[in-house]
């Protein structure tokens, strides 16, 4: 029962630590420490921060430190899962610079590796790993979020290629992406899962229209993407026609490798706030009501951390982590929301004040309040995650599906 690296992992760690120390963009460290959700600095233009991110990614790539677990021929290092975890730990704040490449490296790349042709892999994976080309994921639609297989964007045969019409939504980073991996419907006359096909396309193709969505937090990370008679060649199809659903599942294995980083909950900032804030003449942390809530939040935060250590242990042994990691986002997202609300409560009326005008923690908690509702929905809603735990971990029956065994074009919808 220890937290030690094996001898070879320790050697790897010190090599990584040295390289990062010698090469990381330290001039951005302070801004990165303070950044909330990857924004380098609220006053920097989005374009500038992408340049900084790309520069760091290219530097890593040139020294074989990009996409560590990928095969070397595709730009990686063929490292083990635990080495990827070690890298993430050592990269620390600089990992926030990898956000624009998250979907590409975590989803699009692995999908190509499993289902793409050799030509596709050779052409696209190295440029994806180096950050020279940025990818987005075009899956969700207005009528298909939790029920992704109910998507409607269609791809119809057009000579040697395909014609795409429809709309995607919640597409993170579409505004700065070069390519997008898109799941489409190629046959509406069969059961919904069976009529899907995966493609990728150049985001600057004629007919592609990216429109930012303004989030309740005031930021614009997501987009709607409209497809109006977009023509793409068949060489950009991934997997077989009708195999789209299986192809989309390729990312699930890769999600397990993200166990190395725990989602932030804001607990340590809350603890610091309680230690320093006086409420009616008493330090918040001396008040039992505060102690009671802090303790409840502390054990959730601690439980998340040590759950990820258990998963890392499996990886270090060369095994797939167990189902315990399925609780992470479910616990972290609502913990963050509760922490934000509690932090505001102890600030009293001045908890209303946000941003730079807030004199407490630079308005971080107010930002967390506005961001956390999204965290409870994206990447699987709390309710879907509970269903997944109940069904896949506890073995309880699946929900009754009224759209099973029916052709897609016969399923009732709004």
């Amino acid at each position: 029962m220890n937290f030690d690296d094996s001898a070879s992992d320790a050697e790897f760690r010190s090599e990584v630590r040295q390289w990062i120390s010698d090469n990381a963009p330290h001039e951005w460290a302070q801004d990165l420490e303070k950044s909330i959700y990857g924004e380098l600095n609220p006053s920097l233009q989005a374009a500038d921060s992408l340049d900084v991110a790309k520069a760091w990614q290219k530097k890593k790539y040139d020294s074989n430190w990009a996409c560590l677990t990928w095969p070397k021929i595709y730009g990686g290092r063929a490292a083990s899962a635990i080495q990827q975890v070690i890298w993430s730990q050592e990269e620390g704040v600089y990992e926030k610079l990898a956000r624009p490449f998250f979907l590409g490296h975590g989803m699009c790349g692995p999908t190509l590796m499993e289902y793409g042709t050799e030509d596709q892999k050779q052409r696209y994976l190295p440029m994806m790993a180096s950050g020279e080309e940025v990818w987005c994921q075009l899956f969700s639609e207005p009528a298909a979020g939790s029920d992704l297989a109910g998507l409607r964007t269609r791809a119809e045969r057009e000579g040697e290629g395909w014609r795409i019409n429809g709309q995607k939504i919640w597409t993170s980073g579409a505004h700065q992406s070069d390519f997008g991996m898109i799941l489409t419907r190629t046959d509406a006359g069969v059961e919904k899962h069976k009529g899907l096909t995966m493609f990728f396309l150049d985001m600057r193709s004629p007919g592609v229209d990216v429109r930012p969505i303004l989030q309740m937090s005031g930021h614009q990370d997501f987009n709607e993407v409209y497809f109006d008679d977009v023509i793409i060649p068949d060489s950009q199809r991934i997997g077989e026609v009708g195999q789209g659903w299986q192809v989309s599942l390729a990312t699930l294995m890769n999600e397990r490798l993200s166990v190395g980083s725990t989602m932030p909950t804001g607990f340590s900032e809350l603890l610091e706030l309680c230690c320093n804030l006086s409420v009616d003449g008493t330090l918040a942390i001396e008040d039992y009501a505060v102690i009671d809530t802090l303790a409840d939040l502390a054990v959730r935060d601690s439980g998340l951390k040590y759950t990820s250590f258990r998963s890392m242990t499996s990886l270090a042994d060369g095994n797939i982590p167990g189902p315990e990691s399925s609780i992470s986002k479910l616990v972290a997202a609502s913990a963050m929301q509760e922490i934000a609300q509690f932090a505001l409560d102890i600030q009293g009326p001045s908890g209303l004040i946000s941003g730079q005008d807030s004199q407490l923690a630079e308005g971080r908690f107010q930002a967390m309040l506005m961001r956390s509702p999204g965290a409870r929905v994206e990447g699987g809603t709390d309710e879907i995650l509970r269903n997944i735990i109940a069904e896949r971990v506890l073995g309880l029956p699946a929900d009754i599906r009224v759209d099973k065994g029916i052709a897609f074009n016969k399923i009732p919808s709004a």
Binding site: M1, A295, S302, F309, A390, P397, A398
Partner: protein, 372 residues
């Protein structure tokens, strides 16, 4: 990163689980609950035969000298099996206190007998509403004689001796004494409690003969450390009980039919069980944190122990409460085992001090950690 029990410790877990399952420990617990006396003997014998009581006792004193990690593994299985025995009093408390404080003579006298199971010990600390956080005890020792009232005291009904916490001469601290519970001036009455399968008593000491426990004078800080260790061990019992209650609920939800389908196919039930799984998973992670801190005598043991206790208490109470809920009306019957888990979860939530104490302790440690 090796944040897990070793293969050998996992084998010990498997063996211990098999033992309690084959001994049908839950049956013994039910009989104890229903007031049958002497039912625990065969189980206690069996536990002694496989050496469970001696895992933290050094070999020189008749134990196996294994260690805390082994004891954590055993504790989890005791929790899973809802075992009814004086193991926690005799091992987590009495054995620990003697190893920590006892004179050489006392160690040589008591430890081998505790390790073999032939002798049972306990710790008399509580005095009704006394809070664990301040030594405001009324029990006093004068010229080697103890006067006072202790309640509740776990397992005093079967224990041969007790370590007793008494107020120091200074008035602000605690001294520890050894008392023969069969001696004069000791009156023991079993109390009616919410979990009769883990008996609690009231002890009235009237001029009872005692001997000081080794060098345990003005010893409050060290007593608190022993309670921290016990908190981790109890957390493993609570974890085992919580996971077992979750499984029982899940199994019932798979078999019980209503409205033409398994009750476990309804989302309300699925989500209730998913939430229990989350709580149990967090509790496991936090208990392991406690196990690590115990095994290396970490400076952060107080923080780890409090974290483990709060997390495990919450998980076990949630699991046992909603186990009843999933069972519907049948969950409310004496006949079904649901109330055994419910009683145990609520008793373990209290017997080592309530969550208000442990939450205060946790937050104090967190404050110290950031030099607040």
């Amino acid at each position: 990163m090796q944040f897990d029990f070793s293969p050998e410790q996992q084998q010990l877990r498997d063996m211990t689980r098999r033992f309690f399952s084959e001994s049908d420990s839950i049956s013994t617990t039910r009989k104890q609950l229903e007031g049958e006396t002497g039912v625990g003997q065969p189980l206690w014998q069996g536990m002694a035969e496989i050496g469970l009581m001696g895992v933290i006792t050094p070999e020189t004193y008749g134990g196996t000298g294994a260690g805390y990690l082994e004891l954590c593994v055993i504790a989890e299985e005791m929790g899973r099996g809802l075992v009814s025995s004086s193991f926690s009093s005799s091992v987590y408390l009495a054995t620990q206190l003697i190893i920590e404080f006892g004179s050489e003579k006392q160690k040589q006298f008591y430890l081998p007998k505790l390790a073999s199971g032939e002798c049972i010990g306990t710790f008399a600390l509580n005095e009704g509403a006394t809070c664990l956080s301040t030594p405001v005890l009324k029990t006093q020792a004068v010229n080697g004689r103890i006067d006072g009232l202790k309640k509740p005291v776990p397992d005093a009904d079967v224990a041969d001796f007790s370590i007793v916490a008494a107020r120091s001469a200074s008035g602000h601290n605690v001294d520890l004494y050894l008392v023969d519970l069969k001696g004069e001036g000791v009156a023991i009455d079993t109390l009616s409690t919410i979990d009769p399968s883990r008996p609690q008593s009231v002890i009235t000491f009237s001029n009872a003969l005692s001997e000081p426990l080794g060098d345990a004078k003005e010893a409050w800080d060290r007593v608190v450390n022993i309670m921290d260790r016990a908190a981790v061990l109890f957390a493993f019992e609570q974890l085992g009980g919580a996971e077992r209650a979750m499984e029982v609920a899940r199994d019932y939800a798979l078999t019980r039919m209503a409205f033409g389908r398994q009750v476990g196919s309804f989302q309300a039930v699925k989500h209730m069980l998913a939430d229990i799984y989350v709580a149990v998973t967090l509790a496991r992670a936090n208990a392991y944190y406690g196990a690590w801190a115990l095994s290396v005598a970490a400076d952060e043991l107080p923080q780890a122990a409090a974290t483990a206790r709060v997390s495990a208490t919450q998980a076990f109470q949630l699991a046992s409460t909603n186990n009843i809920q999933v069972h519907g009306g049948m969950g409310f019957t004496w006949e079904f085992d649901c109330h055994l888990f419910y009683r145990r979860s609520n008793a373990l939530a209290l017997s080592l001090g309530s969550l208000s104490y442990w939450k205060r302790r946790l937050v104090k440690e967190l404050q110290n950690g950031i030099h607040c």
